[in-house]
């Protein structure tokens, strides 16, 4: 497997959607290619960081204001 082929299947490895055979081929490539190992690990980390950090927080004040407005209009039948 070349690095290009590995990269095309990177998401299958990350998302655990690779078949057993494909997975084993990808793992073999990873074991002998330091570059692809870095790409794999740091891409996984990228996803994890975006998943675990709130970058657009909804402040409580705004939350309550919007919430009241939504419920008031819904009660009026929108």
């Amino acid at each position: 497997m070349t690095c290009k082929e590995f990269l095309a299947l990177l998401d299958d490895l990350i998302d655990n959607t690779a078949t057993a055979d494909m997975r084993s081929e990808l793992q073999t490539h990873l074991g002998r290619c330091g570059h692809c190992e870095v790409v794999f690990n740091t891409t996984r980390k990228t996803i994890e960081i975006y998943r675990s950090h709130e970058i657009y927080d909804l402040p409580t004040g705004l939350r309550e204001r919007l919430h009241d407005a939504i419920m008031a209009r819904c009660k009026k039948g929108c």
């Binding site: 290009k4 990269l7 998401d11 970058i55 657009y56």
Partner: protein
Amino acid sequence: MPTIQSIAGQLEPHPDVALVERVRGGDDAAYDTLVRKYERQLFRIAQHITQNREDAEDVMQDAFLKAYEKLDQFQGNSKFYTWLVRIAVNESLMRLRKRRTGKMVPIDEDIETDEGSVPRDLADWAPNPEQNYNQAELAEILRKTIQGLPPGFRIVFVLRDVEGLSTEETAETLGLSIPAVKSRLLRARLQLRERLSRYFHKEKGVGK
């Protein structure tokens, strides 16, 4: 992270279905519960698409009102959350189009990139690189980095990786084919990874 289980094929219906039924029966408090449950996710999606706080607030409000209004059209065969996200995405895109005075948002634009080519920056990251920044600094880095992605990539990444929609749900929500979603997701992930490398690089990251 939404952890909604698929409704189809399960004996126990998702709790959202029961809440929707209660709202249909005139129980507004049940809608209140749904709003509180998903307001954060909807705001985040709207902010990612419009990249404008005021627009995101309006989108969130309008999406919940529209969902309330159209509740009769909600079919139990899709998840309530996915249905809600679809409304919020459409509202966000409409808002963007208005702001850009009729110019189409390039959500389905096919952006030429070096798909499949080996990433340029191959330097490894520091262990737990996010710990080299305080929360505000990190949030700024993550915002700046994701805002630099083409809109069509950004939305796919947000729906799939941040909000936890499946590939099929993302495709349906955005009106894209499954291969298009997959291709965009891979490119989005790789571009974000490469852009974050300049902050999280082993040597550069340490000590900021």
